[in-house]
Structures are given as structure tokens and as C-alpha cells.
């Protein structure tokens, strides 16, 4: 067997040079430095993920990243950034990252409730805490991912949130991550949420761009939640330049008798890969991953998830809804692993897409890997057009076609949004979807004229 060493692409070469130049100044005590070195060595072996890798089959990052942008080193707090922050409708605590760098002055740190502790990731990396390597690593199923390796090697900052056992947070904690969009930059950030036993909390992640320049963003969030905790996560990836390329990884290790739910809204996100690596660390735990993808133009949204049921009595629910117009491409790859001892696992995975026109594409790839014999696991994937019968019914009642379509689409997306538990946040998500549909409705009226 011959060993083929592929030639490095220009972007891969640039990343190697960037890492060599930056590794001395990237924050981290010794264990973190080792983690970075190991991760980058792993990345160098694999290179940028490409379509011949099954897990990256539909999102060829090697082809997409022709050039690696210069690393963002500092936060460019521009007028546009400030304007966007003041326009943001969001109650509760705000932790602001600009270009991947935590900006305390823009954050609301003065009145944190008891039990909530916030640091910058950079501080946590140099703090010398003993569990840092474990905390950063997350579930084992994430280990081989080159996108995540790159994040580990190059993460500059983020927030490190600790929620003490028994704490019930009455307001969401929002990590607002803005790319300044002043210049084309590569942003590597990671945040960590450690929630103790019995914690109830809602974490919001906003990813937006304040300026017009397209960024390359590699973000990660790591959750480690304790037994009997209930952690809700909402991610909104919006308002990015069309040429933006992003990888957003979510790593979660969830304790026993716990509840963890994540919902992601994607619209105007350029090319986005969201990947979830989730591990059931205790029995009788329920995990839900859901999301809505609204795609147009040449946008591309990839949702790839791995649910690792290691223990019995785990429940998993996945529901992703995609509405795809223009030349947009949606990808859903969902893998549910039920290991030998994970009896009584109850899994249900759904990916439904509506294609609005001929140029739109959806790839669905649900996978079940079941090694236990007493489980209930199902999946359903559909790709369809707007139901003509429903449309006719609404039009026969007087709704013009664009409005009738918008109503059907809103209802389609709404089925997943229903699972966002916080009422205010649910309304925020619905408002974003309505705004997107409104733009579409307006443009179709123009084209009809």
C-alpha cells in the first residue's frame, strides 16, 4: 500500500505559518500549550476537512477556504459594533465578544447573580486550573474532527462561565459574538459553560457580523452540565456577509436525570457548518437538538450531529427544518450511537426541508448505530415543496400567493421553534423568521410586477 501525502493547500500552508507565529503569544499555561500543539499536529496530519471524509462530505472546507485570512488579534470595537449592540433586543446578562475577543466594557458584569461566575477564556487558559484540558476536550466523539482541532490550536478567547450547583438563573446569559467586519479576518473563539448539579439556566449565543467584510469564523462552545440540571441553549447565526465561512461546534457532556436542549436559527449566515458532539454521561437524561435553517442566494448550511448514548434510559430528540431558496444548499447528517449497555434508549430524529425553487438542494443523511437490543429509535427525513393543496386553500380564502406561502413556511418552521422554552426568546426567533419571510415576500411581489 502506498502512502499518499497530499500537497498542502495555500490555506493549509498559511494556517501552519500562522500557528507557528502565534503559538507563543496565544494564551495558555503549559497543559493548554500542549493541547494546542497536539491539536495542531493532528490537524496537520489531516488537513482541512474535505469531501472525501464521510463526516464532511457535503461541506468541502478545503475547497471553500482557498485562502486563510489573517488571525484577528484584537477586538475592533467600531461604531457599527456599538450600533448593533444597542439595537440588539435581549434581556439578561450580556457577554460580548468582538472578533473573538472578550470585551468586558461592553458586557454586563457588574450585577451578576449569585452562583454565576464569568471569566474570559484567555484568563481561564492561563489560570492553571487542573481540569482545563478535560473541560476543553468535551466528548470523545469530537476528538477526530479537524475543524475542532484547528479551534483548539488557535482559540484566542471567549467566555468561561461557571454556574454553581443549585443555581436557578431567572434570566438568560447571552454570549454575543460580533465580527467587526471591518477587514477580512479569521476568528477563533471558544466558550465554556460548566453547570453544576441541579442548575437551571438559559444560554444564548448570538453570532453576527457588524460590518460588510466576510470573516472566517471557527467557534466552539463546550457544555458540561451536572446531574438534574436543565440547561437551555439558543443560538442565532444571522447578519453575516454571504462570503462568510463558519464552523460552529457544540460539545456537550450531560449528567444524569438532566435536560439539555439546544435550538439554532440560521439565516444570512453565508456558508455555515454547525457540528454537535453530545455525550450522555448519566442515565434518564433527555437531550433535544433542534433548529431552523433559512437559506437563499448561494448560502450553505450544514448541520452534522453525533449523539453518543453510552448509558441506559437516554432520550434524544432532533428536529431540523430547512427552507431553501435560490441556489442554497442544506445538509443534515445526524448520527445516533447507542452503545451496548445503553438499553431503553429512546431516539427520534427528523430533518424536514422545503425547497422553494429548482436551484435549491438538500442532503439528508440520518444514521443510527445501535448496539443495544432494547431501544426505540427512529428517524425521518423529508425533502418537499410547499404543499400546493395547502397553498390553494389559503389563496381560495383571499390570501395572495406570497402571503399564503409565507404563512405555510412560518408554520413549517414554527413546529421546531415551539421547543424554545423561554417565551421572549421564542418570540425573538419567530420575529427573525418573519422578517426573513417578509423580505422574500416583498421581493416576490417585485418580481411578479
Amino acid at each position: 500500500m502506498s502512502v499518499v501525502t497530499p500537497l498542502k493547500t495555500a490555506a493549509e500552508q498559511a494556517l501552519s505559518a500562522q500557528f507557528a507565529a502565534a503559538k507563543a503569544e496565544l494564551p495558555g499555561a503549559l497543559p493548554v500549550r500542549k493541547l494546542r500543539e497536539d491539536a495542531f499536529a493532528g490537524f496537520e496530519l489531516k488537513g482541512l476537512p474535505h469531501r472525501r471524509l464521510e463526516t464532511w462530505r457535503y461541506t468541502d472546507l478545503r475547497a471553500l477556504l482557498r485562502e486563510a485570512r489573517p488571525l484577528a488579534v484584537t477586538a475592533a470595537v467600531t461604531d457599527a459594533v456599538r450600533a448593533r449592540l444597542s439595537a440588539l433586543v435581549l434581556d439578561g446578562i450580556r457577554l460580548v465578544l468582538v472578533d473573538g475577543v472578550f470585551v468586558p466594557e461592553l458586557s454586563t458584569l457588574e450585577s451578576l447573580p449569585d452562583g454565576l461566575n464569568v471569566h474570559s477564556l484567555a484568563d481561564a487558559l492561563v489560570s492553571g486550573r487542573e481540569d482545563i484540558a478535560r473541560v476543553l476536550s468535551g466528548p470523545g466523539v469530537a476528538d477526530a474532527d479537524a475543524g475542532l482541532m484547528l479551534n483548539t490550536a488557535l482559540m484566542r478567547d471567549g467566555v468561561f462561565i461557571e454556574i454553581a450547583a443549585g443555581t436557578e438563573l431567572s434570566h438568560p446569559v447571552a454570549i454575543v459574538s460580533l465580527a467587526s467586519g471591518e477587514e477580512e479576518r479569521a476568528i477563533f473563539h471558544r466558550s465554556v459553560v460548566l453547570a453544576g448539579h441541579g442548575v437551571q439556566a438559559t444560554i444564548v449565543e448570538i453570532s453576527e457580523s457588524a460590518g460588510p467584510a466576510a470573516s472566517q469564523i471557527n467557534g466552539a462552545i463546550v457544555f458540561e452540565t451536572g446531574d438534574e440540571s436543565d440547561v437551555q441553549h439558543l443560538r442565532m447565526v444571522t447578519r453575516h456577509a454571504p462570503e462568510t465561512v463558519q464552523v460552529q461546534s457544540l460539545l456537550a457532556t450531560v449528567g444524569a436525570q438532566a435536560n439539555f436542549e439546544s435550538f439554532a436559527l440560521v439565516c444570512e449566515a453565508g456558508t455555515l457548518r454547525q457540528q454537535y458532539f453530545v455525550r450522555y454521561a448519566g442515565e434518564h437524561t433527555t437531550i433535544g437538538l433542534r433548529g431552523v435553517n433559512l437559506l437563499g442566494g448561494s448560502e450553505h448550511s450544514d448541520v452534522t450531529l453525533v449523539m453518543d448514548h453510552e448509558v441506559p434510559h437516554g432520550t434524544s430528540r432532533e428536529m431540523f427544518k430547512s427552507i431553501i431558496g435560490g441556489e442554497g444548499t442544506g445538509v443534515f447528517q445526524g448520527k445516533v450511537i447507542v452503545r451496548q449497555y445503553a438499553q431503553k434508549t429512546d431516539g427520534n430524529m427528523k430533518s424536514n426541508a422545503l425547497l422553494l425553487n429548482d436551484g435549491a438542494t438538500m442532503f439528508n443523511k440520518p444514521e443510527l448505530e445501535i448496539f443495544a437490543d432494547d431501544v426505540v429509535c427512529g428517524h425521518g427525513a423529508t425533502v418537499a415543496q410547499i404543499d400546493g393543496e395547502q397553498l390553494f386553500y389559503l389563496m381560495a380564502r383571499g390570501l395572495p400567493r406570497p402571503q399564503a406561502e409565507a404563512l405555510v413556511l412560518l408554520a413549517f418552521a414554527g413546529e421546531a421553534v415551539e421547543f424554545v422554552q423561554d417565551e421572549t426568546l421564542r418570540a425573538l426567533v419567530m420575529a427573525e423568521i418573519e422578517a426573513w419571510l417578509g423580505k422574500r415576500e416583498a421581493s416576490s411581489v417585485v418580481s411578479a410586477i
Binding site: 400546493g388 393543496e389 395547502q390 390553494f392 386553500y393 389559503l394 389563496m395 381560495a396 380564502r397 383571499g398 390570501l399 395572495p400 400567493r401 402571503q403 399564503a404 404563512l407 405555510v408 412560518l410 408554520a411 413549517f412 414554527g414 413546529e415
Partner: protein, 250 residues
């Protein structure tokens, strides 16, 4: 007034012709019934009048108050006054019935250049009409037609008809799937809407519905055209003798 002249229609993607030169007039204030065997084209006729796209009109015209509606999309026909009560009302998951009713009423008002309804007026109108049809408030909060029984769906159609106040109502097999009590409620709802300015086209297989909604005229349809027209007694005759004679005649 609805006038249909020499209407020839085929299914858009097939070579199958369904309506073969159909002529029909329904005057304002008139309740006209169309009876006919399965496959005679009754439902197609209702869809073509309402503007469904799955059909291709090869010849003829459909005039509502003198205006040809064939060039209009379904929503424009609705705003012009055509209402089709569906044989199988569609379920629209995720759309609350109240949201839908308001959107429909306001869309028609906008199309006619009228001001949109104020919310209190809208709620008053819906509650008043719902009470008359025995529709519970809970049903109005649910997604449109989702999980409704056959009777509830048909009542919801009549509620929409009452709220949208069309000038030409087409009832497609409204009696199908109804027990006798539900049939009476629906028929009472329709009768309450009878008006000298409003025409009705009641499509049915059976005489039964016409015991409750007494027609002025009865048309027999077979193989895509009207083959006999008479008064309400014609329905009784058909009940006895069946359609066989007309199928052969066509």
C-alpha cells in the same frame, strides 16, 4: 350572478378531459344544486371556478357579475366574491385558526381597497358567527383544521363563509362525512346566509342535504356537462330512479 358558458377543461398534466362544454347560470339569490354520479366532474367544476391550478381551461368562460374570472388567481377570485367550501378542508399545522381568519378577512379587504379590520371588531365578528355555528372558543385557538372532526371542519368552512360574506358560494359535497346533527347545524348555517344578493351552488351526491338546504333549481351533471335541469322535485326523482338514465343519455 355566475354564468358558465361552454366550459371545456382538462387536467393540466394529462390528456384527460373532465368538463365537456358545460353551461350553467346561478342567479343572485338562487340556490342551485348540482347532482351527479361519481366522476361526472362535479368537484372539478368547483375547483375550476375557485381557481385551482391543476386544470387547463380549453374553451369557454366563467363570468362573475359579468366579469371573466378565468384570468384571475384564486385569491383575486375570492376577493371578487367567490367562496368554495371544500369537500376536504385542508389542515394547516402551525397556523392558529384566528390568525388565519384575520389574515383572510384583511387580505380580501385590502384587495377591495377597504380598511383593515380593527382587532376588537374582528374578535366580535368571529365570536358572534362562531356562537351561531356552535364552534367552541377552544377550536379557534387550535391550528386550522388540525385534529378537527369531519363535522368541525365543515362548520369551520361555514364560519369562514359567514365572515368573508361572498356573493357566490360553492359547497362541494358539504354533507360528506356528516352525521345527521352536524348536517343540520351546517345546513342551518347555510340557510342563515341565504340572501337576495348571494347565489349558492350546492354540489352533492345525495338528496339528503337538499332536505335541509332547499334548492330553487336542480341540475343533473354527467360526463362533464349539465344534462337536465329542473326544480327541487328533480332531486327526489333522482333519489328514486338513480343516475343510470342520465349517464346513458350523456
Amino acid at each position: 350572478m355566475l354564468e358558465i358558458r361552454n366550459l371545456v377543461v382538462k387536467i393540466a398534466d394529462e390528456d384527460k378531459q373532465i368538463l365537456n362544454g358545460l353551461n350553467l347560470t346561478v342567479n343572485d339569490g338562487e340556490v342551485a344544486a348540482i347532482m351527479g354520479p361519481n366522476g361526472s366532474g362535479k368537484s372539478t367544476l368547483s375547483y375550476v371556478i375557485a381557481g385551482k391550478e391543476d386544470y387547463e381551461v380549453l374553451d369557454g368562460e366563467i363570468l362573475l357579475n359579468g366579469e371573466n374570472v378565468l384570468e384571475m388567481e384564486a385569491d383575486a377570485r375570492a376577493a371578487a366574491g367567490i367562496f368554495l367550501a371544500f369537500q376536504y378542508p385542508l389542515e394547516i399545522p402551525g397556523v392558529a385558526t384566528m390568525t388565519f381568519l384575520k389574515a383572510a378577512m384583511n387580505a380580501q379587504r385590502r384587495a377591495r381597497g377597504e380598511a383593515e379590520l380593527l382587532t376588537p371588531d374582528f374578535i366580535k365578528a368571529v365570536n358572534g358567527a362562531a356562537d351561531k355555528l356552535g364552534i367552541a372558543k377552544d377550536m379557534l385557538r387550535r391550528p386550522l383544521n388540525v385534529g378537527f372532526s369531519g363535522g368541525e371542519k365543515k362548520r369551520m368552512e361555514i364560519l369562514q363563509m359567514a365572515l368573508l360574506a361572498p356573493s357566490m358560494c360553492i359547497l362541494d359535497e358539504t354533507d360528506s362525512g356528516l352525521d345527521i346533527d352536524a348536517l343540520r347545524i351546517v345546513a342551518d348555517g347555510v340557510n342563515a346566509l341565504r340572501d337576495k344578493n348571494r347565489g349558492f351552488l350546492v354540489i352533492t351526491h345525495y338528496q339528503r342535504l337538499l332536505d335541509h338546504i332547499i334548492p330553487d333549481t336542480v341540475h343533473v351533471m354527467s360526463q362533464g356537462r349539465i344534462v337536465k335541469t329542473g326544480g327541487k322535485e328533480l332531486a327526489l326523482e333522482l333519489e328514486k330512479s338513480g343516475y343510470a338514465a342520465y349517464v346513458e343519455a350523456a
